[in-house]
């Protein structure tokens, strides 16, 4: 489905690991583009950011971000951490995802940072936190399992 100007995903990932032109990768994935999810290097640390967009609202009265959008950000951050900070050759497949919703998401940009707790040959365990103004007060956290390769 990729057009002639876009290299295969595995090749694009290899290039972006070196060049850190993260936008080339997130732009190549329709859903992250649709959600406004990007990868950034802030003070030497790779983070994910979900830019605020009114269409990501789940509760118009508060207003608050849709819980599903926070789940999407957390899962994306885990996938990008595995793709860009390890040498995995293929897109990790999510096995399971558990999200704890801790605080309501305000209508503003949201950040996420993933930590690989264990990377085996076949399975990776990843923990992710999402926050807005104050990193010490996360609004959601997740732990996820990914399959890295076929046996």
């Amino acid at each position: 489905m990729s057009d002639s100007t876009t290299p295969p995903l595995a090749e694009l990932v290899r290039q972006v690991r070196k060049t850190r032109e993260y936008k080339r990768l997130t732009d190549a994935i329709p859903y992250t583009r649709f959600m406004g999810i990007g990868v950034e290097n802030l003070a030497g640390e790779m983070l994910c950011r979900m830019a605020f967009n009114p269409r990501n609202i789940g509760n118009s009265l508060l207003p608050a971000l849709h819980g599903g959008t926070l789940g999407a950000l957390l899962e994306s951050a885990a996938v990008f951490e595995l793709l860009l900070q390890t040498n995995t050759e293929r897109v990790p497949k999510v096995i399971s995802l558990t999200v704890d919703f801790l605080r309501s998401g305000k209508p503003q940009d949201t950040f996420a940072k993933a930590f690989i707790t264990r990377q085996g040959r076949r399975v990776a365990n990843v923990r992710v936190d999402a926050w807005q103004d104050d990193r010490t007060r996360p609004i959601a956290s997740a732990h996820a399992l990914f399959l890295l390769s076929e046996p």
Partner: protein
Amino acid sequence: MSDDFTLPEDKAGRMERCAVFYTDVVPHNHALGLRLVDVGAAEATVELPYAENLVGNPETGVIAGGAVTTLIDATCGTAVFLKLGRFAPLVTLDLRIDYLRPARPGIVLTCVADCYRLTRQVAFVRALVHQGDPGHPVASAQGTFMRTEE
């Protein structure tokens, strides 16, 4: 206690009242194109139509996990409203999703959620996501929700 927040007894009325959560009231449900297709006493069925802009892997065309998470969260919330018989302030406490088999591209995803236990403060919901055959789900999920009124 009949007010604007109480759900009617009849199925058509319940469908109509709950459907607003997929059109006007919840912008992100609308942005994903979620549509409520069935309601029961404590069950909701919601569809996520396939769309190019929801693809998570451009090489396989498979829908992103995040869109499936949103489908499940929304369907579970509606199941709680149906069990309660009214719209009450609700927050998702947690959601666990197991991805049982790869979703096929180009095919609608259907989520069926059942609020199987409701206490004074907490609602417990389980859900399955399938692509036409409920016997072969692509994902199963378990969520807990908290009532925030009082």
